[in-house]
């Protein structure tokens, strides 16, 4: 297939033939930012299908603006999404199967949850040896206020049978080739949690297409993959859904393993809640600063737990000092933090950040390797130069 670049080469050839300056043809060939309406300054991991990462310097607001919120798609976004034609079916192990229109869904009581949503593979590129998958840096994470009916209110209208143990979500994403559809399930206990939503809004506005319009599952504190976008079917099951995206995908080994080991499927478990983690948003890695006052700042989160403390080291991990946690907080949301550092001496420094949560979990000094690179949460670091 001919690429746009080939086309531009042809154009510039034509331009030369017509006596037009080579300078213009150079301008035509120059690689610059990729146009992407509604998404500004995002790191383009993939255009087709769409995978966008937030640069860490965007982590300076408690709520991430939607145009700066990471996008993770396993498949193609639905070609056609019409709010009037959209239906949500609730079936399986229920007394009264339902089909809801958007207008009917919106009649349920609305509940809001500020939630930090993180892709299970965030930080995958930092594992060694590297593992296959989208090579996320540190920015497949963001925090938003999600609103919509509680999943349990909808499930209770359908009436879960005593045989119902898991709740499956299916979206409208379009599957290429013979790729298995992106279908996953969560245990019924989490589905019935008062904060698990069928979210229709994000930061006060209707979901955009990239974020699952008109409705997505919002499973607070859990990996992004639990939060199925373009939701169209909810099915109550007797057992965990059997499909690629429950197994072998999105599973972690029960025991720590070496890259040379192989792990049997029965020795793995599904990835569910996020772990304790902090990321340094500033100063940027590689920054050159002047002596004096330097503000180190970032965000820290812990899934279903709360952030207890964030500590900073400016001497490569020998000594640690507590960062100040931001006043904005919610149960499933990250805390912004900052640390004022007075640098008197010129030189090269490594700044480290380490979060500890209310369950006593602390970020490890080195990453916990696993075959798919999930839940990377090693102590974060940036290297800077003070001149």
């Amino acid at each position: 297939m001919n690429s746009r670049r080939d086309f531009l080469k042809q154009i510039s050839g034509a331009a030369l033939a017509a006596g037009i300056t080579p300078l213009l043809s150079q301008a035509l060939l120059q690689g610059q930012a990729v146009e992407f309406p509604g998404e500004d300054g995002m790191i383009l991991r993939s255009f087709r299908f769409v995978d966008l990462e937030s640069p860490v310097e965007y982590f300076n607001t408690w709520l991430t603006p939607v145009p700066h919120f990471f996008v993770r798609n396993h498949m193609y976004e639905p070609t056609e999404l019409d709010a009037d034609d959209w239906r949500l079916s609730i079936g399986g192990e229920v007394e009264r199967p339902l089909t809801l229109r958007l207008a009917e869904l919106s009649k349920f009581e609305v509940h809001s949850v500020v939630n930090t949503l993180e892709c299970a593979g965030n930080g995958r590129s930092l594992h060694r040896p590297q593992v296959p998958g989208i090579q996320w840096g540190k920015g497949a994470v963001g925090t938003a206020r999600f609103s919509g009916p509680r999943l349990r209110d909808v499930l209770q209208r359908a009436g879960i049978k005593s045989t119902g143990k898991h709740v499956m979500f299916r979206g409208l994403d379009e599957v290429p080739g013979k790729v298995p559809p992106f279908i996953r399930s969560i245990p019924v206990e989490k589905a019935l949690d008062a904060d698990t939503l069928i979210a229709t809004h994000m930061n006060g506005s209707a979901l955009t297409k990239h974020h699952g319009f008109p409705a997505r599952a919002l499973v607070p504190g859990w990996i992004g993959a639990a939060c199925c976008k373009w939701l169209t079917e909810i099915k109550v099951l007797e057992a965990e859904f059997a499909g690629n995206f429950m197994s072998p995908a999105y599973r972690l080994p029960n025991q720590p393993m070496n890259p040379s080991d192989t792990v049997k499927p029965e020795d793995t478990h599904p990835v569910t809640a996020l772990t304790a983690k902090s990321v340094i948003a500033g100063p940027s890695d590689g920054a050159s600063l002047k002596t004096g006052r330097v503000v180190v700042q970032g965000a820290a989160w812990a899934g279903e737990a709360d952030v207890a403390k964030v500590e900073i080291s400016t001497d490569g991990g020998s000594t640690w000092s507590a960062a100040k946690l931001g006043h904005e907080q919610a149960h499933y949301a990250w805390r912004l933090w900052n640390y004022e550092w007075k640098v008197g001496k010129r030189g090269d420094y490594t700044i480290l950040s380490r979060a500890t949560d209310s369950q006593g979990r602390t970020q490890p000094a080195s990453p916990v390797w696993n075959p798919s690179g999930y839940l990377y949460n090693a102590v974060d670091q940036v290297k800077i130069h003070v001149a």
């Binding site: 746009r4 990729v34 790191i43 966008l52």
Partner: protein, 156 residues
């Protein structure tokens, strides 16, 4: 010369220019059939307009954007890898991987199972091509950034 270029490249260029003109709210995922008669009529109008204005537009307006999708590197398997892999996803998904030959073998076999058209006779050459270009020793891929600004430089 222009009519040939238009005929050859219009199918590739059209979605982009059409997209800019009508400012669709989301990026195109892939070429899809339009179901609405209105959209077909609009496309026809755009084609007619482009046929007249394309040479002038392309030269007079400095594009400010990089190519939306990337290409696989040159090599004996470039064409076959492009056919096998980019039917479902763009090349950038491959460009960012840094995997051993064993890991590439698993990926190629998984993707073949998932519908990638790989002639069994080409399997080993494809694995070699991917391993040679995207092994663990290669420097990290530098992804581009997105911009919300359209080609004219005006913000949305």
């Amino acid at each position: 010369m222009w009519p040939e270029i238009i005929r050859e490249f219009l199918p590739e260029l059209l979605p982009k220019l059409y997209f800019e003109r009508v400012r669709l709210p989301a990026a195109p995922q892939r070429a899809t059939k339009s179901k609405s008669a209105l959209a077909v009529a609009t496309m026809a109008a755009v084609i007619a307009l482009l046929a007249v204005s394309l040479p002038f537009r392309a030269l007079a307006q400095k594009p400010t954007s990089a190519s939306a999708t990337a290409d696989l590197p040159a090599g004996p398997m470039q064409a076959k890898a492009t056919t096998a892999c980019t039917e479902c996803h763009e090349a950038r998904i491959i460009l960012q991987q840094r995997l051993s030959k064993a890991a590439w073998t698993k990926e190629v076999d998984k993707m073949t199972k998932w519908g990638a058209l790989v002639d069994p006779a080409d399997r080993d050459a494809l694995i070699d091509y991917l391993s040679a270009n995207f092994g663990p020793d290669k420097p990290a891929y530098e992804p581009p950034r997105t911009t919300d600004k359209i080609a004219s430089g005006k913000s949305k």
